[in-house]
Symmetry: C2
Subunit: 258 residues, 2 copies
């Protein structure tokens, strides 16, 4: 008997077979495709209808190169369409100011979190649209390796913040499916109840991750999941230690009661 | 001639016709459907493979009622399957600790933002899966009206944070499509360049939003977009002023250089 999910539709089949694509063919996205992706992003749900997200298409080769250096992802410099998704409360500030509204609570934690959600929802919506067209995607959390540099490159004003990059293109690789944590460890009912000790229960999963062969890093990482997690408790890349400082400089999270 | 997007596929058609559904039929989701949605959430891309998201299905009527009160959304108490998507670095802490790793930088801004993104990406992926099955969804940023209460209701440990609720069910309403900001104001090339003054350029859009008739609030809000935004500069609901304090209590964003 086939697993239950096999019975579901193409969209869901695609979603449970999602793979990050890190190599794109030398075929640019046509204008209509970019337009469709932006239309999808635009129609994503947003908190309190504030639509606190702006998308920047990065086409300038010099800027693409600079962003690829921040991300340590050389492949995004050349191929694929590069979007940067920006949390944007500046547009709302401008709309308020032009109506004579001098108060400004758009930097509060509530508004920052709402804008953060708006922005990330739009990213995943765009990913799903791209994959429905047979395109591949890589989401670049790594732009936050140096948020200030991204802000400088894209001339981002106060009350905006770069959240995620997204490169989209025609896949030039076919990676295997990366095994995900079993449901037992990430879906609970009515309250948080992680089954502990967790380590002995993750042995099978660790073995499967170890087996998993990522085309991207054939000669680099042959690792287990729990080892990766262990390292994550102590390491932190690059200028990310400055991240909160840059958030404050952009006018966000400055006071608890804003 | 039809607009370009008409030429695109069903997935994209659905996405650009996305409407929030706030009334569900008295038909529960079957187990296989919930399973499929969780499988999709599980296979969402995650930052550095840390899979920093946990989903809680809230089925206890008392807890559903309590969450609906925090959200001021009475309809979620009765119908629809209620998920709460939780940023989860606690699981990773546990995995590290059980291996004798005593350092802990999982509360840093970098890890908080990465987990925030992981979690919201999973929400939108689940939304797209649900809509592909003909289900309706409402994303509940409003659980952050009182984050501490949600933490208490769901017994969330340190290094977790509730980010968004998501109710999914069989639609019992057919709202109109809410007009979104035109692309000119939310998609730029190579740098942030909002066309200002923006207000005169939003007159048509304001008129369309004013016209827009939301079934949910037929007798409540007949408003323009720019008015809504103006109000957003000064108002803030409920306990959201305490939000950052609760984030700190959960062990996140405590130091700049963590």
């Amino acid at each position: 008997m086939k697993p239950v999910n096999e019975a579901f539709n193409d969209t869901i089949q695609r979603q449970i077979n999602h793979k990050t694509i890190r190599a794109f063919k030398q075929i640019p996205l046509d204008k209509e495709t970019v337009q469709a992706l932006i239309d999808v992003a635009r129609h994503t749900a947003s908190s309190q209808f504030l639509q606190a997200c702006t998308v920047i298409s990065v086409t300038d080769p010099v800027k693409k190169q600079a962003i690829s250096e921040v991300s340590h992802q050389p492949y995004i410099a050349n191929n694929g369409h590069l979007f940067v998704f920006v949390l944007d409360q500046y547009r709302n500030l401008q709309i308020g100011h032009e109506q004579g509204q001098d108060e400004n609570k758009l930097g509060s934690a509530a508004k920052f979190f709402a804008g953060f959600s708006d922005t990330v929802l739009a990213v995943q919506n765009t990913v799903n649209a791209a994959e429905s067209l047979g395109l591949g995607t890589v989401i670049l959390g790594s732009i936050l390796n140096d948020a200030q540099k991204i802000i400088d490159i894209l001339d981002l004003p106060k009350l905006t913040f770069p959240i995620l990059g997204l490169a989209v293109g025609y896949p030039d690789q076919q990676p295997q499916l990366k095994p995900r944590l079993p449901e037992t460890f990430m879906h609970f009912e009515n309250s948080y109840q992680l089954p502990t000790p967790i380590l002995p229960q993750l042995e099978d999963y660790d073995a499967r991750v170890h087996e998993y062969y990522d085309l991207r890093e054939a000669n680099k990482r042959v690792d287990t999941f729990t080892n990766q997690v262990k390292r994550s408790l102590m390491t932190q890349p690059d200028a990310r230690g400055e991240l909160l400082h840059v958030v404050h400089q952009q006018g966000f999270l400055l006071t608890d009661k804003a």
